[in-house]
Subunit: 239 residues, 2 copies
């Protein structure tokens, strides 16, 4: 399993992904599920994914080959993030079918965010079927993989006006909630924060299992949550 | 779908359940999923459930019939909560098989908590298969139904020494997180709080959709969560 979040707020993008892959609890290993690509001043992209490892590696390899070989359509040629999502969906469908004829075991889904000069900073999710949706003003985030444990904190906190730094912390708390509840989601955690309008590479950070900041965040968060209950209005009992 | 939590801490029990039942989004209605039974000074029980409505109603009817007709085994005769869980598991298996021959569509699971004089206050989950587990010191809660959205807050907050009032608020926040994310979990919310050792009926409260306390709790919680992020340690960026 996997957990990835893509957040698209006015200030920019926050993407985070775990690094555990598994085919059963004793066939677990570590693979990055994030790539960033860009041409400074012109275009910037961040990509995360969930699903079959062979499919996702195939898609990433094709994306990179298309750029290297200056294909007609690649992340170097798309005019906006919608076109990028369409392009990734098409490659994904081909990869899912290629060696296997397809089927649920070979499915993969992707989050792609970024900005192309002349278009807006955007965040998309590409389904296994190749179609895609965009994050919205009402729900400024998208998730792939094991999404339920980490969703309530995103629901409570994120709005389009949430600052990037706060959105990044919220994504880490969401990731922490998921790792605690699902063994197949695990560190290292990768995080990428892109500032809308900059068209420059964003800030990247990898959090290993023993990362001091991650431990502090988690401890500090648990303490604050417990303290909050002490200040809540007492339940009014009717009977 | 359904969401029920049973919390067993040193101070006693907190049980909460939603009231939405559905067979598709346009076949939704409202049914209580909680019952309490007891003989003051001798025994007290609280029961919640998830699963097929016909099965769960059948089980509850049988439990009540067994008490009324003074059956050899009933909630009036069991010596402890383990025996109660065993008894409910057996009835549940019979009900699942009765008219249908069984199958996933007719499954049901139960949470049962309470205390019998001479034994300890306990909290059990009875699986659809009729077997059962007890809540533990490490994880002093059990869930049935749509359990993922509401689990992280329980994980972060609950320990065996959590006071009953705080455990009750935590259960409500967990329920709120679930209702927000899953349309098939809905109000009214029922809550029952039993004080260990009392052997007297606990406090019961029903929260309707427009309940003022529930709205205040939710608003207050969302504000505190957002405020907490403002006080968190800023992310240390390496690159």
């Amino acid at each position: 399993m996997t957990y990835c979040v893509g957040i698209g707020v006015q200030a920019g993008l926050v993407f985070t992904s775990d690094s555990r892959t598994n085919a059963g609890v004793d066939a677990a290993s570590t693979h990055s599920k994030m790539r960033t690509y860009g041409v400074p001043g012109e275009r910037q992209f961040v990509l995360t994914w969930a699903g079959n490892l062979a499919t996702t590696q195939g898609v990433v390899a094709q994306i990179e080959r298309d750029m290297r070989e200056e294909a007609e359509t690649s992340l170097l040629t798309v005019k906006n993030l919608g076109e990028a999502a369409e392009y990734i969906g098409q490659i994904s469908l081909i990869e899912q079918e290629k060696n296997t004829g397809g089927g649920p075991a070979f499915e993969a889904s992707f989050l792609v965010g970024g900005e192309v000069a002349g278009a807006k900073c955007r965040c998309y999710m590409v389904y296994a079927e190749g179609n895609y949706i965009e994050s919205s003003h009402q729900t400024p985030f998208l998730q792939v993989g094991e999404s339920k444990y980490g969703k309530p904190i995103l629901d409570r906190v994120l709005t389009m006006s949430t600052p990037l730094e706060q959105a990044a912390m919220c994504a880490l708390v969401s990731m922490d909630a998921t790792m605690r509840s699902n063994l197949t989601v695990g560190p290292p955690i990768e995080m990428y924060v892109y500032e809308a309008g900059s068209l420059q590479p964003g800030r990247y950070r990898i959090f290993e299992e023993d990362d001091e900041y991650l431990w502090n965040l988690k401890r500090s968060w648990n303490m604050k949550v417990k303290a909050a209950f002490a200040e809540m209005p007492p339940i009014t009992w009717v009977h």
